[in-house]
């Protein structure tokens, strides 16, 4: 069966490549200020080798680090009407969008991929905090709907990596409507008894947390990720008291029963493989058999559509 026939032909994706200028050979850890050599950092999936701080990772880098052989088929959602409100604050919304597109090389804040994870077919969706704060607008909503539809068509699990400050204000009420829209999409998935795994990454707040990010069968978070509905400053102003140490951090939410697990990025792949295979009632994956994922800065290898 050729699954591509079900969809618009996916683009063969190419791995992200950074130019090696002396400027970006070193990255300073936001937490411990250690200067980290870029190769070392990339090998460690953008996790500080000194203090374990999880830095931002692009959706493409994340997919490369998870899918078998780093290869996946990218697919796209229907493009929404551009700038439906003709929104303008200090800048025009289309200008903000263009700037974000130029900065990230992506069309919007959610990347979709289909492929093998530990030889298990999965759809993955990853939100890009670097794209207008990952904000949820029509494009993100359409992407989640497309991800659910694809998972239903392929009868496979959906793994979603959330990262957003909340809804995209420049789309007004239409951004808010992504809360019910994405919920409808998830219901289609759940009615087919297909797993929905949410990995909450730093930060996941506002309307994103109050919709799809809290509707998973399993909730995993990356260490120290900020997760919540209201912003800490708003809360402090409202209740006039200092918030406790670690408030709204992944470990805090784990303690309060909102998450199943807090898992390091380096362990995420094995854990996801294990969970989705059990939920899909598949035999255990034999690690020695598996093709390892790609290194996230591997420039020599062009990924291609997963063959199986």
């Amino acid at each position: 069966m050729n699954w591509i026939s079900n969809y618009v032909r996916p683009k063969i994706n190419s791995l992200f490549s950074r130019r090696e200028t002396p400027d970006n050979l070193w990255t300073k850890c936001d937490e411990c200020s250690t200067m980290l050599f870029h190769r070392e950092l990339a090998d460690n999936l953008n996790v500080c080798v000194n203090c374990g701080h999880h830095m931002n990772i692009t959706p493409r880098e994340r997919f490369a680090s998870l899918f078998d052989g780093g290869t996946f088929a990218e697919f796209e959602a229907k493009a929404p009407i551009a700038d439906p409100l003709k929104f303008r604050d200090q800048k025009k919304y289309p200008d903000r969008l263009k700037a974000a597109q130029k900065k990230t090389g992506e069309k919007d804040a959610m990347l979709l991929g289909y492929g093998d994870l530990g030889r298990t077919k999965v759809v993955m969706a990853a939100q890009d905090f670097g794209f207008m704060g990952g904000s949820m607008g029509m494009a993100v909503g359409n992407a989640i709907i497309a991800a659910c539809e694809h998972a239903v068509n392929m009868k496979c699990p959906l793994i979603l990596f959330s990262a957003a400050g909340g809804a995209r204000m420049q789309e007004g009420i239409l951004s808010l409507m992504q809360m019910p829209r994405t919920t409808v999409a998830l219901q289609m998935l759940k009615e087919k008894n297909l797993p929905f795994i949410v990995v909450l990454t730093h930060p996941t707040t506002g309307g994103v947390t109050a919709s799809y990010a809290m509707l998973g069968d399993v909730h995993i978070a990356e260490p120290n990720a900020l997760i919540g509905f209201a912003g800490a400053r708003v809360i402090e102003q409202t209740i006039r008291e200092k918030l406790p140490e670690g408030f709204q951090r992944a470990e805090y939410l784990l303690d309060h029963g909102m998450l199943d697990r807090v898992t390091k990025r380096q362990d995420m792949r094995d854990e996801l493989i294990s969970i989705v295979r059990m939920l899909m009632k598949l035999p255990p994956a034999i690690a020695a058999d598996l093709e390892p994922p790609a290194k996230i800065e591997d420039k020599t290898k062009k990924s291609e559509v997963a063959k199986k």
Partner: protein
Amino acid sequence: MQNYLEFEKPLAEIEGKAAELRAIASQSEDEMNVEKEAGALDKKAQTILVDLYKNLTPWRKCQVARHPDRPHCKDYIENLFTEYTPLQGDRVFGDDTAVMGGLARFDDQPVVVMGQEKGNDTTSRLHHNFGMARPEGYRKAIRLMDMADRFGLPVVTLVDTPGAFPGRGAEERGQSEAIARSTEKCLQIGVPLVSCIIGEGGSGGAVAFATADRLLMLEHSVYSVISPEGCASILWKDAEKMREAAEALRLTAQDLVKLGVADTVIPEPLGGAQRDREQTFVAVKDAIASSLKELSGKKPKQLIKERRQKFLDIGSKTLA
């Protein structure tokens, strides 16, 4: 004592003068006849009122939507429903007094009615937490919707909230999860769900109640992803730019109908719902009745299917 909004100042002055004149006349020994003068002031006040409300800016609509004298959830329940029987508690942690709801009859038909109550004086505002729900409020809503679904009762929600409560305990007890589950429940029940935004539809806290088959909005109600003040302070870096933000957000009932988010605008009396409560109750009751009538007779599966499709379709309409 009537409360006036800032932009109603010219109106307050004239109406105040007329009231003062009548008060003086009634207290004077020979019962001075001032009706001619007072009547002239009334007429002038009416002209100002018409003028002020002819083209309310979005920011002014936000103010009217938050008017302290505006009828609130409790008033609608008392005036539109009979046999209201409040049901309380989330069966997990507590009862959230920001959310009221229970069984009632609407034109003799048993229904589940619920909504956020803001309160109308300092004591009741504090009691109802200004209509800002905690997780227990959303979980109570979920419970009531489940009950409605089980017994085949239509659900009517009355939405009036600045948003979900930003508090420590609310976060610790899963505010996000509670809102997400309430929205999900709205999309799962096989009974008619009619929602009316009577004042402020504030962000996710409103979505959890307003994800309905039919969304009715009072003429001067608003529904928005963020408050104009919040939006101004983030995007303009200046909370004083709320007028610009209110304009840009397109949060009025009129714009939301164009965008396919709301279905019906319910006209308000001149000067807002608070100026003629009875007229407002009649208009809201009629609108809810006709929505329920449209939905009656639909099978559960059909209701759910159409409700879901309605939300999937949002985004295909523009303001033009």
